[in-house]
Structure formats: structure tokens, C-alpha cells
Symmetry: C2
Subunit: 298 residues, 2 copies
């Protein structure tokens, strides 16, 4: 049986079953970050993201944007857990016939975000490969009281997203600003019951919250904020690499957030019983079931 | 100018010049691990190692050994700093037409060492690529008093290695046991002034100690322990992937270690003034200068 048959999440599930963790691990694989005991008030957060030429960027992509993207994805993961990125390692595989300047521009892209977010680039590894592969692993910190996982959504909670969705492939995926500021605003002023960053499409990533919180969701087509580049609603629901935050708030908290009238946070639906799965109320008020799918590597 | 022209270390040097670190970083890029403040008695250690099909293993390598190797390399780095590995992340790029079993065997290889050394596999990332790329990043801990860097060797110190050198390409590079036990024995009972793991060949890795400790070294051909697979002395000096420990001890400590008669630790030379560079006393007592080189990716 080939990997393409069981898919990315099938393979991850098989891996996960084999892993044993000790009591210092609050949350292993299966959330935006791993969560590890640190001190009385804080946890450590660990995440990694690998980007590959021909999948996540092309041979003609400005290398500054390649470096930038790899770092931004990991920052987005740490933001989705309510934390602050602090250190990163970068492993780069590259062809020896590449101009030095190309490699330096990858580094410059990484540095631009590292500087902006006060992240220390503390090391890395260089290797040889035909096509560029860049893997960034990041260590961050989160106050225990600020930690948000995918698993806390409750029936009645309101579902929000930041920004707009869809069409990221036209450019945003290389230039997005990770929603760290927004995540910090949320965890300081509210208590999101669940949060994830939308990397593989709204429907699929909401599906992760549904699965891990053991609930269902109803979205409203009218409320889903489509980006100017989105072709249609399906694009906003299923295409990947938006890197927006998707989170849930208890009704009273949702009211408080809505009262602030902040355009960046838009309500798109509500959490319902698990038995309904993922539902969409279309513009004509008809309610349909959505597939919890999106971008998959295999 | 191409990367192949300035080489792996030239490129790393260019990267390093661009990086700024804050006061929480004890040691950034340029040692076996990055060293970060943790608590009163301990530092955190961070390291990553990327292995690539066609460079570090072949398409016919048993995938269990691929997973095993990626984890063993990072453990070896943490050992070289005197620390203990605790958590790892693994990013894997793989072809979708690969059998599921192949990917599972990579995971099994990683798990075998994770279990043996009580390391938690807390997450990772999957991506698509024509050839297999596996990047492991590892988080460990070291008691402040146990930390060993490449930079502390002093004139008069005795240079030691563990095990035997050379010919690793014939098999050891895929099956080596990282010298964690030996490193712990050393830092608990002695105070190594400098330590590194030999990943790119004795001459090149000793060169890192020489550069960072600002000293020179004299090796004795007669004393260098050649593995049964080593073709000759040059193989033991220059070929990569031995993953043995190379360390220095002050003369009195060296005497104490030698008195224990432990075959695993062999003295191979002494630290001398920087102006002599790296010297080798040949079997005929003639002293020559050695190039501080070995395996390089570019």
C-alpha cells in the first residue's frame, strides 16, 4: 500500500500510535505546537515546518520570500497556541551550483522576520540536494493561562476567523504576516476555547478542532470573509495557506469581542453537537454537510 | 559566485555574520548545540541535523537505519555538549508513491533510539519530495557545570578520542551508537576543556576546536585508533561520520583518566600554541602540517 492511499493524516495517525510520551509533555503531536513543562507559570512550545521547492514555492520564487515563509509558518503555529516565538533552527538543503547570493537571500528573508519578532536564529544545518528544502524548527514560550489548544471548543461557542480566506496561492502564501499580534490580543483579553491556524484550508483545519474537541460546527456562507483573490466560496473553504487564525469563544466572550467592532475578527459560525458534523448554511438558507478536507501532501 | 566556491563553512560564516542574538543565548551557531538560558542550574540545548537521500544514505538503505541515523546524529551533538536529549521534532519529505511500510520503518528507526534514550517524539511535519529528506531537531538539557563547548582547550591539554576512526562509510555511519554514556561519564568525573563529535573527520573537527579555542594541536600517527574498516591513516584523519567524541583534558585530569585504563578513551595528541596549526608526528618521527579538512557538503 502506497502513502498516497492512506494520505497525509492517515500516515500521521499511524506514526502517532507508536509514540510514547513522558509526563513532562503536556501535548505531543496533533496540535499547532508541542507543549512541554517549563516552570511554574510557563510552558515551552515546539514546532517545525518544512518547505520544499516545487511544492511550497518554485525555482523562480524570490529566495527572500522562501526564507520569510519558512519562518512565518512556524510563528503562525506558535501564535495559534497563544505563545511567543523565541529561538529557531534552520536546516537548508541546497544545490552546490547555486549562487551564494541565492542562499544569502534565503537567510535575509529569515532574518527579516526574526528581527521583527525578536527571534534568535541559534543554529542550523546545511546539506546538499537537487532541490531546495528548508526546515525551520522553533522554540517558544506560553504562559500556562494563555495556552490554547484545538481541543477546548464547546457546543454554543462562536467560531471566528482573522482576515480573509482563499486565493492565497496568488501571493499571500509567500508574504503573509503571521497573526501573532492578534493571537496575543485574544489570549490577553479573552479565553479562546480552541484555536488553530488555517494552513490547509478552513474546512480541513476546522475539522481538526471538531475532531479534537469532539463537537460539530455550523458555518454561514454569508459570513465567511473571502479574500479579494478568492475565486469563490469553495476557494475560501478549501484552499490552503491562508495562515489566518480560526478560534472559538464562549457566547458571552464572543459578544464582548463583537462589541469591539474589530474588522480583523469575523464570526463565521457556531459550535454544535458532534452528530451534525460540519455544516454550511448556504446563501439560500439551505443547510448542507461539508467535507472536512483541504490541502494534503499525499 | 557559486556556493561550491566558498564551501559549506564559507557559507555558514556569511550567515553567522548577519545574526544578532539576545542575552538569553549563551552560545548560538558554531558549536555542536545552541545553548540557551533555562533555570538556575541548567541550560537548554538545541540542535538539528538534516539527512538527504543520495548524500547521507541511498534509496536502498533500510529505512529503519535512516530514521535511526537522523536521531543518533542529534543525540551525538547533545552528548558533545555534555547534555541529555529530551525531546525531538522530525520533518520528513517523502514521495507519495512510497509504500506506507517504508515510512513506518523510518519512524520505527527513530522510535528505537527515542525509547532507548528516553526522548519524547513530540511532533513533526510531513512534506512531499522526490527524494527522502529527514530533518530532526532536538531539545536537551545540560547542567551548567557540565556544559562543554569547542572553545575551552588550553596549551598543554591532552587530546582524546572515543572508539576508533575511519571507514564509517562501510556501515558504521548508519548504525553507530552515539557516545552519550561516555560523555556523561566524562562530565561527571572530569572537566573536559573542549569537546566535539567527529562528524566530518578528525582533522576538520579538531580544526573547529583549534579555531574556537585559539590554539594548535600535535597528533601522533601511532596513537590514532584506526577502525578495522579504515583503509589507512588518512581515512581515519579525513573521512566523515565517525560520530566519536573528540575532547581535551588538562594534564592532571588526563593522567587520572589514563590511570583508569579504559580502552574506549584513547589519547592521540596534545594542544600546542596556535602558531603551529595542526601537526602530525608520523611513524618515522617526522612532523608535518595537516590540512584541517574533511567532509564538506559543497
Amino acid at each position: 500500500m502506497l502513502i498516497s492511499k492512506i494520505g497525509e493524516f492517515g500516515l500521521i495517525e499511524r506514526f502517532r500510535k507508536l509514540i510514547k510520551l513522558d509526563a513532562s509533555v503536556i501535548k505531543g503531536s496533533g496540535d499547532d505546537c508541542a507543549v512541554i513543562k517549563f516552570d511554574r507559570d510557563n510552558y515551552l512550545l515546539l514546532t517545525c515546518d518544512m518547505i520544499v521547492e516545487g511544492v511550497d514555492f518554485t525555482s523562480r520564487t524570490d529566495p527572500i520570500l522562501i526564507g520569510r515563509k519558512a519562518v512565518a509558518i512556524s510563528i503562525s503555529d506558535i501564535a495559534a497556541c497563544g505563545g511567543t516565538p523565541r529561538y529557531l533552527l534552520a536546516s537548508l538543503a541546497i544545490n552546490r551550483k547555486t549562487p551564494v547570493n541565492y542562499a544569502e537571500r534565503i537567510m535575509q528573508g529569515m532574518l527579516s522576520l526574526a528581527k521583527k519578532y525578536k527571534i534568535n536564529i541559534v543554529g542550523g544545518d546545511l546539506s546538499r540536494a537537487e532541490k531546495v528544502v528548508l526546515d525551520v524548527s522553533m522554540l517558544g514560550r506560553v504562559k500556562k493561562k494563555d495556552l490554547v489548544l484545538r481541543s477546548g471548543a464547546k457546543i454554543g461557542d462562536i467560531i471566528f476567523v482573522t482576515g480573509t480566506l482563499g486565493g492565497s496561492i496568488l501571493g499571500k502564501h509567500l508574504k503573509f504576516t503571521p497573526r501573532l499580534k492578534e493571537a496575543h490580543f485574544l489570549v490577553k483579553n479573552f479565553s479562546p476555547s480552541a484555536m488553530i491556524d488555517i494552513s490547509d484550508g478552513l474546512a480541513q483545519d476546522l475539522g481538526h478542532i471538531l475532531k479534537q474537541s469532539n463537537i460539530g460546527a455550523r458555518l454561514y456562507a454569508d459570513l465567511i470573509p473571502q479574500s479579494a483573490c478568492a475565486k469563490n466560496l469553495a476557494d475560501a473553504l478549501y484552499s490552503g495557506e491562508d495562515f489566518e487564525l480560526l478560534f472559538t469563544l464562549a457566547p458571552r466572550q464572543a459578544k464582548k469581542l463583537l462589541a469591539k467592532n474589530l474588522a480583523i475578527f469575523q464570526p463565521i459560525g457556531e459550535i454544535i453537537d458532534k452528530k451534525y458534523g460540519l455544516r454550511l448554511v448556504e446563501k439560500n438558507d439551505r443547510e448542507i454537510t461539508l467535507a472536512q478536507e483541504g490541502f494534503r501532501h499525499f
